[in-house]
Symmetry: C2
Subunit: 242 residues, 2 copies
C-alpha cells in the first residue's frame, strides 16, 4: 500500500483508495483489524487527522467499522445485504431526482426488472410473502388512505413480490429500482377509481403468484405498467395545462 505525496489528489482520498483496494484484493479480510490510526499515520507518513479522514470515507461506504477502547480499532466490515440495500436506495433515489430521469424511463426499468423476478417468485414464494402481498392489497382498499400511504403500501407489495424469488441478489438489485420510484409515484394523486383498478391488478398478480403461474404474473405486471404509465401521463398532462 503506497501513496504519492505529489499527486494532485487529497492524501486522505489516496489512503482510502489504497485500503479499499487492499480489501477488494483480499489482502485485508473480513473482521481483520487495521493498524491503529497512529500506526497508519506512520506507515503513510501523514498525520493522524488525515488518516482519520480516510477512515471516515471508508466507514461511509460500510467498508470498515470502528470500535473504541482497548483492543478497539478499525475492522474490515462484512457488507450486509441490509447495508447494501440502504446505500442502493439512496443512490438510486438521488440519481433519479438529480438527473431528470423521466417517469417513463424509471417505470420501464422497474417493471422490466420485476417481470424478471415474477417467474421465480411464482415458484418459490413462501406463505409469508403471499400473506404480505394480500395484506397490502387489503390496506390499499381502505378508504381514507392518503396518497403517500397508498404508495408506501404499493412499494411494500412489490417488495414482497420480489423477495418471493428468494434470491438475495435479486432483492438487492431490485430494492433501488422499486424504492426510488416512490418519490415519483408520490407526485401522482390516485382517485378512488384508479385505486380500485390497481387493487384489482395487484390481486390478479397475487393470484398468479399463488397458483405458481409465472406467465400470468408477468402479464399482470405488464398490465400494471401500462396502467401506471397511462395514469402518470394523464396527471402530468393535466398539471401542464393548469
Amino acid at each position: 500500500m503506497k501513496i504519492d505525496p505529489n499527486s494532485s489528489a487529497d492524501l486522505s482520498a489516496q489512503i482510502a483508495k489504497a485500503i479499499k483496494d487492499a480489501i477488494i484484493n483480499g489482502d485485508l479480510i473480513v473482521d481483520q483489524r487495521l493498524p491503529s490510526e497512529s500506526e497508519l499515520a506512520d506507515q503513510f507518513q501523514v498525520s493522524r487527522p488525515t488518516v482519520r479522514e480516510a477512515l471516515k470515507r471508508l466507514a461511509a461506504q460500510s467498508l470498515i467499522r470502528t470500535q473504541r477502547g482497548a483492543s478497539g480499532g478499525a475492522f474490515v466490515n462484512r457488507i450486509s445485504f441490509e447495508d447494501a440495500y440502504a446505500q442502493q436506495i439512496t443512490t438510486s433515489t438521488l440519481l433519479l431526482s438529480m438527473n431528470d430521469v423521466s417517469f417513463e424511463t424509471a417505470c420501464e426499468a422497474r417493471y422490466a426488472l420485476e417481470r424478471a423476478c415474477a417467474p421465480l417468485s411464482a415458484q418459490r414464494r413462501t406463505p409469508d410473502h403471499l400473506a404480505t402481498m394480500r395484506a397490502e392489497i387489503f390496506r390499499q382498499g381502505q378508504p381514507g388512505l392518503t396518497d403517500e400511504a397508498f404508495c408506501a403500501s404499493d412499494v411494500a407489495f412489490h417488495r414482497a413480490l420480489v423477495d418471493g424469488a428468494e434470491n438475495p441478489v435479486l432483492s438487492y438489485q431490485l430494492a433501488g429500482a422499486v424504492e426510488a420510484m416512490q418519490p415519483l409515484m408520490n407526485m401522482i394523486t390516485f382517485s378512488a377509481r384508479d385505486r380500485a383498478r390497481i387493487v384489482e391488478l395487484h390481486s390478479t398478480i397475487a393470484d398468479a403468484i399463488e397458483s405458481g403461474n409465472g406467465g400470468a404474473a408477468i402479464d399482470g405486471l405488464t398490465d400494471l405498467e401500462i396502467e401506471t404509465r397511462t395514469l402518470a401521463t394523464e396527471v402530468f398532462a393535466a398539471r401542464a395545462s393548469a
Copy 2:
C-alpha cells in the same frame, strides 16, 4: 439541521446525516455551496476537524465535491450515472465475495435481469451496440486468449446487450449484477470446447438482437445460463474431488 451532542453516535456521523438528509429533502440543491468548514463548525458547535470528517463521509458517497481557494468550498454534487455505476459495482462485488453468495444464486439473478433487458435491446439497440457485441464475439474466438481476458470480453458483450435497451436506469441497475459476476467467472477455466459453445450462443443472441427478435434473445440467454451453470457445476465438482 440539528445534532445531539449527547447521542452515542459520532458527531461527524450525525453531521453527515444532517447534511445528507438536507440534500435528499431538497433543502440543498445541486451545485449549491455549503457554508465553509469554519461556519459549519460554528453552526454545529464542533471543531473544524469534526466537520471535515463529516464532509469526507459525504464526499465518499459522491454527495458533495470540494474545491480549494477563494470562492471554493463544498458543493452539492449531481450524482452522475458513472459515479453510481462505480459505487454499484464495488458494493455488489464485495457483497458477493463477503457473503458466500453461491455461483448459482448470482448467476440466476444476473440472467434473470438480463432477460428483462433483452426485448428492449432488440427493439432499440443502435448499430454501435451491435458492433460492440460482434467485436467481442470475435475476440472471444481468438486462440491464446487468457481466461481472464475471455471473461472481461464476456462482460463487455453483456454490457453492450444491456446498454442496447437505451435505458440508463436499467444499465445502472444491471452494471452491478453483470460486473460483480466477473470474479466468480474468473474461477472457471474455459476449455476450447467451452469457448466455442459460448461464442455460438453469443452469436445466436446477437442475431436475435439484430433481427429485433426479443423472444429469441431471451431463449438464447436462457441457454447461456444453463450452459454457464452446468460448466460451473462441473468445474467445482472436479475441484472438490481433487
